[in-house]
């Protein structure tokens, strides 16, 4: 295990940012810390980097107890949401910074920086100032700068959070490919479950200062440990006391069956390639079902049609703790950044 976090706690005044958190982060993999804003995931990352000091607990990086080490002795690369580019230095000098601090010979610095600039596709921008780069380019520069010192672990704090949707998606793919090339242990913080599911090998879900679940994207999606993880990772709807994914529900016009619940269609909404059908059970419970266009056409239903709604066998469900929850249409996707 590359990073061991043992019983770490952190408070800011009365606010408990981390409550007795223990996580093991595997070597050489890409791990996401996923959770809503203010849930403590950035604090955990900053504690790993040494930018924040834990009140209690222990941090170990590659077998070395780093709990009391200052950031400059931890050999971690840190990438900030807002790039933290050294504004008065050129791209080349930015990337070279860590090597110059380490007093490496000039030739070595030059060749290493050239190599890194090629890796992040910024060769032709070497002599520019950060202000002359776009957001995505600045973030790639920041990544090259962090990688230059050959860190034991690479930490990224909402690295794509300040970029627009298109660039964010590009950089996400690019980070995945970069990691497949470089293989440095990487931990990144995100509140975007799609980003985590798409990029990470392993996801740690953190909420209100506690770890909710640790696992691969498939584990988390198919076997959510609790209601929070279920809700956070994707759209959910409620059928009886079960929380289910709307696309795991089936509708049937055969009203003689005994599986599922009788319901009446209240609304049909078309969203791109999928159709959202809102139904109300005879008990008055609103349920959302998403169907593909073909499924929908095959059923031939419309508003006020009577249907039976049932769950596809083997689908993930969790039991709802508080029965008064309103029906959730969208996942808790992007809380205020």
């Amino acid at each position: 295990m590359s990073i061991e976090i043992v019983n770490v706690g952190k408070r800011f005044g009365d606010f408990v940012a981390l409550d007795d958190v223990s996580v093991s982060i595997p070597s050489g993999r890409l791990t996401a810390l996923l959770g809503p804003s203010g849930g403590g995931k950035s604090t955990l990352l900053r504690i790993i980097a040494g930018l924040e000091r834990a009140d209690t607990g222990k941090v170990e990086i590659e077998g070395v107890d780093a709990t009391r080490l200052p950031p400059q002795k931890r050999n971690v690369g840190f990438v900030f949401q807002h790039y933290a580019a050294f504004k008065h230095l050129t791209v080349r000098r930015n990337v070279a910074f860590g090597l110059e601090i380490r007093k490496r010979p000039k030739d070595e610095v030059r060749s290493r920086v050239d190599e890194l600039l090629a890796l992040v596709h910024l060769e032709q921008f070497a002599e520019r100032l950060p202000a002359q780069l776009s957001g995505g380019q600045r973030q790639r520069m920041a990544l090259a700068r962090a990688l230059a010192v050959e860190p034991t672990v690479l930490l990224l704090d909402e690295p794509f959070g300040a970029l627009d949707a298109k660039v964010r998606k590009e950089l996400r793919d690019w980070l995945r490919r970069l990691h497949d090339e470089v293989h440095v242990t990487t931990v990144f913080v995100t509140h975007d479950q799609e980003e985590a599911l798409e990029v990470a090998d392993e996801i740690v879900v953190i909420n209100e200062g506690r770890v909710e679940q640790i696992g691969s994207p498939d584990d988390l999606y198919d076997q959510p440990a609790n209601e929070f993880v279920m809700r956070f990772l994707g759209p959910v709807t409620q059928l009886g006391d079960q929380l289910v994914r709307p696309h795991d529900l089936r509708l049937s016009t055969d009203l003689t069956g005994t599986t599922g619940a009788a319901a009446r269609v209240t609304r049909v909404t078309r969203i791109g390639f999928e159709i959202r059908v809102d139904v109300a059970t005879t008990g008055g419970q609103p349920v959302t079902v998403t169907l593909t266009r073909n499924e929908f056409l095959a059923l031939g239903i419309e508003v006020d049609s009577d249907v039976r709604v049932s769950l596809t066998p083997g689908s993930p469900t969790t039991t709802v703790s508080a029965p008064t929850q309103p029906p959730t249409k969208a996942p808790a996707l992007t809380p205020t950044p």
Binding site: G50, L51, R74, F78, K87, H88, I101
Partner: protein, 278 residues
């Protein structure tokens, strides 16, 4: 871009209002600043170069000018070092009493310099001061000597560097410093390579303002200097003394020199300062 927007908005809107405002501001500055300063210059050269020549050949005046420069430079160096230090303390750290310290730092601007002078005499005065006799017996005279004059000048110009640097530090934020730390830089390296270049213009502006203020300091210095001719008389004290002795030419010429240095400082900085350094 913001400039374009503002320009566009004012052009659509209140054109006559803008001209009235311009005229009022220009007239105000003209009568308050430009015209009086110009008159000082004109009076200095009323007899051609004779007045200027006279003071520059008077050993007492040249001594006073040199003393002014020495004191101002010493005060600026001290204020810059401590000013940058205090600014970093105020912006980057939290500690009890921070608000009090912040308020205390504005005191020198609000207290009359003459009060500052008297206060320093009370503490460091050679005979009756609280601390003075001890220092004096150790062979260090503060009041009626150059150290006291530097002290008074430091006191008066204390907030200038801080008030220039603090907002810049706040705006720059600490992410660049954290990035430098995570890349292996220690505190000194981070300060020299990252913090200092980022706040450079704030520091330079603070230094120039302090220099101008220190050269022109009069009240506090007058109290603590003893105003001994050829020893502890600074340029500003020369101006007063010559003026009171009806040596108008000499006083205007000295005043002109003082004003010239201050104006030159400001001009040099505004020329050097990059436009909208992002």
């Amino acid at each position: 871009m913001a400039e374009h927007l503002i320009a566009a908005r004012t052009q659509v809107g209140r054109r006559p209002g803008r001209y009235v405002l311009r005229i009022v501001v220009t007239a105000y500055l003209f009568f308050l600043v430009a015209w009086p300063l110009y008159l000082v210059g004109r009076n200095a050269f009323a007899d051609g170069l004779t007045s200027l020549n006279d003071i520059l050949t008077d050993p007492d005046v040249t001594h006073a000018l040199r003393l002014s420069v020495v004191i101002a430079v010493a005060a600026v160096v001290i204020n810059t070092v401590f000013g940058v230090g205090i600014s970093i303390l105020l912006v980057r750290y939290d500690f009890p009493g921070k608000r009090t310290l912040n308020a205390l730092l504005d005191m020198p601007l609000s207290v009359s310099p003459i009060v500052v002078g008297l206060a320093l005499v009370l503490v460091y005065g050679g005979r009756e001061g609280w601390f003075g006799p001890t220092l004096e017996s150790a062979g260090l005279q503060i009041i009626f000597a150059v150290p006291g004059m530097v002290l008074a000048t430091v006191f008066v110009a204390l907030p200038l560097v801080i008030r220039e640097v603090v907002p810049v530090l706040q705006e720059v934020g600490d992410e660049q410093e954290q990035a430098a730390r995570s890349l292996g830089a220690n505190a000194v390296q981070t300060f020299r390579r990252i913090t200092l270049p980022a706040i450079k213009w704030g520091v330079i502006y603070g230094v120039v303002l302090s220099l101008a203020r220190s050269l022109g300091e009069f009240g506090a210095v007058k109290v603590v200097s003893g105003n001994v001719l050829g020893e502890t008389r600074t340029a500003t004290l020369v101006v007063e003394e010559k003026y009171l002795n009806f040596d108008k030419g000499g006083s205007y010429a000295t005043a002109f020199l003082l004003a010239l240095v201050a104006v030159a400082c400001i001009i040099v900085v505004s020329v050097l300062r990059p436009k909208e350094d992002r």
